[in-house]
Amino acid sequence: MKILEIIFSTSFGYAILRVTTPILFAALGAIISDRAGVINIALEGTMLMAALWGVIVSAFTHSAWLGLLAAVISGILMSVILAYFSLNLKTNVVLAGIALNLFASGGTIFILYLVAHDKGISSSLKSEVLPQLTLPLVDKIPVIGPIFSGHNILTYIALLAVFLVYILLYKTPLGLRIRAVGENPDAADSVGIGVNKTRYIALILSGLLASFGGAYMSMGYVSWFSTNMTAGRGFIALAAEAMGKGTPLGTFLSSLLFGFAGALANNLQSLRIPSEFVQMIPYIVTIIGLVIYSSSQASKPRKFKEE
């Protein structure tokens, strides 16, 4: 019953939020691009690139914030490349995303080697981390305090971003355009919405959010960059978005579920279960979640969708 003891501790609650943060950022990014009708498979590579540039620039400028800025710029660049190829040159967006992920996977090693003369980890760079926030008043409340206070600032930004994405999608003209373009590009086009322009914006926003997740990985979750450190979080985010039916709240909840699985995996390593099985948990939960979501979708009458 040690498992229950672990799960019902405040430190586990804290860990869930900590593990959820990068997935949530990327999943919110997935919502925006998906609602605009372009699947962003490159989230994984975008996060990885952002994680690396955050470390490099913060190490050279001694400023975590400049590191974050560099991470965001690199993420946006990745999205622009994806947008240019998929929207202008008509590359299949899944293939372009796969290509960008392969590029990020090798490219980050290439850059890391040039900068840090190491192909595995950035420990020779003295990079900065983004600050942790202690919430005034909240941290005095028992149970709630230890769970919600003292997180990295990006964790709070991620939670805030859930609302921001909601407002963007449902309360702004841009959000309306994004949804229109995603649901029926021809109809959107006929009323004068620039389909490609809107999709460019959606992909850039998606890359921006994913790069926050990447920056969090190397400047919050841990304080270094290591190769392929995102370990599939960009893909888990895609599953979270699918399970959340493309809504900010639903995606937040499914991201929490994957965060829970991840935190469980991190915590169970102390128990006498082979660590390999423990590390499988988030991925197995993702597949199960995906199946449950998809089967519930399949049983509903199919929405009219342009092929």
């Binding site: 040159l89 796969i98 392969l102 090693i109 080697y113 040039l114 390999e276 995906l290």
Partner: protein
């Protein structure tokens, strides 16, 4: 039709050319000995028989994964689980190689069959999730890769680990299971013959059998295939099982040909390379060996460059990404194609007019 093929060839060559130029520019920027680096990169693999044999050796897993991905992509299934199937194929071969005693030849073949069956079974999972519950095969196969990685490492670590080796490797395989070398002095093994046979079989299967036809029709237009009486769900299932079998066999052959024990600490990445090969080859089995050779040549060239100069071999990842995106870009050089079509049409018209005037 002929012009179309010519155009695709030109497009691929231009894509490769552009990617190489960009890689060269990067090399010039980062290296203190750029000409040395470039020459190692481009002609290094030809400088010694051993290096050239390395290129062929590395083509073998690329061919298997390229074929596996091609079959699945032709059915329009973005299943990228070849990575995990390949890895587990090697694990299966390790189990058979260590725990069984069979005559030479039979042992290898049995291990390869086991690898193939396991691979087929594993890629059946994302396939059935897709056909039964409509779960996106791309996401589920991606997740499956991570699960299979941990499963494989668990099997090796807990049951087959050679504790005396000092690092995480399996026991040595019985020598009867290993695939013998084709040319002494190199690592080139008989697996290359399996690869050639597999290319022929898959080509025959895809273009000369009803089943292959059904796969291609499903990939071209699922609804049309359904209306014309093809059981699309069944096709989606077996396309991915076949993909898994090919990848699993590839993993077993790679392990038995190139290693004496299981040594991989992480996923070897050949499954992703299979995606690159399949795209370069336009999912055509006949073109797969060419694409695999090209990619393998790049890799070995880059390795030689990294070993002898200051440029890390990962520069290849830039080339790969650009080549995939440009080759898959429908509008890339579309204007050129448009001009070609117009020119051809004009010629035909003038020929027809010429015919009338007489």
């Amino acid at each position: 039709m002929h012009k179309e093929v010519l155009f695709e060839m030109m497009r691929t060559l231009v894509a490769i050319f552009i990617s190489l130029i960009i890689a060269f520019i990067i090399i010039f920027f980062v290296s203190t000995q750029p000409t040395e680096a470039l020459s190692k990169f481009l002609i290094g693999p030809f400088s010694k028989i051993r290096y050239f044999s390395n290129v062929i050796e590395m083509s073998i897993p690329l061919i298997f994964n390229g074929l596996a991905i091609s079959v699945m992509f032709q059915a329009n299934q973005f299943n990228v689980g070849a990575e995990g199937a390949f890895f587990m194929g090697a694990v299966a071969a390790t189990i058979v190689g260590i725990t069984m005693n069979l005559p030479v030849g039979v042992h290898s073949i049995f291990a390869i069959i086991c690898g193939g069956l396991l691979g087929g079974f594993l890629l059946f999972i994302p396939a059935i999730l897709k056909t039964k519950w409509n779960a996106n095969e791309l996401v589920s196969s991606l997740m499956l890769n991570y699960i299979l990685y941990y499963l494989g490492i668990f099997i090796i670590n807990y049951y087959l680990r050679d504790v005396n080796a000092g690092y995480m490797v399996s026991y040595k395989l019985n020598s009867s299971a290993l695939i013998p070398k084709l040319i002494p002095g190199t690592r080139l093994h008989y697996g290359v013959l399996f690869a050639v046979a597999m290319i022929v079989i898959i080509y025959y299967f895809m273009y000369r059998t009803k089943w292959g036809y059904a796969i291609r029709m499903t990939g071209l237009n699922e609804k049309f295939a359904e209306y014309s009486g093809i059981r699309v769900n069944f096709v989606i299932l077996y396309a991915q099982i076949i993909g898994g079998i090919i990848a699993g066999m590839g993993g077993a052959i790679e392990l038995l040909g190139m290693y004496t024990r299981f040594e991989w600490q992480k996923l070897p990445g050949y499954g992703w390379d299979g995606v690159i090969v399949a795209i370069l080859a336009r999912n055509n089995p006949v073109l797969v060996p060419l694409a695999a050779f090209f990619l393998s040549y790049l890799r070995i060239g880059a390795d030689l460059m990294a070993r002898m100069t200051d440029v890390p071999s990962e520069v290849v990842s830039v080339i790969q990404a650009l080549v995939i995106m440009l080759v898959a870009a429908e509008s890339f050089m579309a204007k050129w194609r448009h001009k070609m079509v117009i020119k051809q049409a004009k010629e035909e018209i003038s020929m027809a007019n010429g015919g009338n005037s007489r």
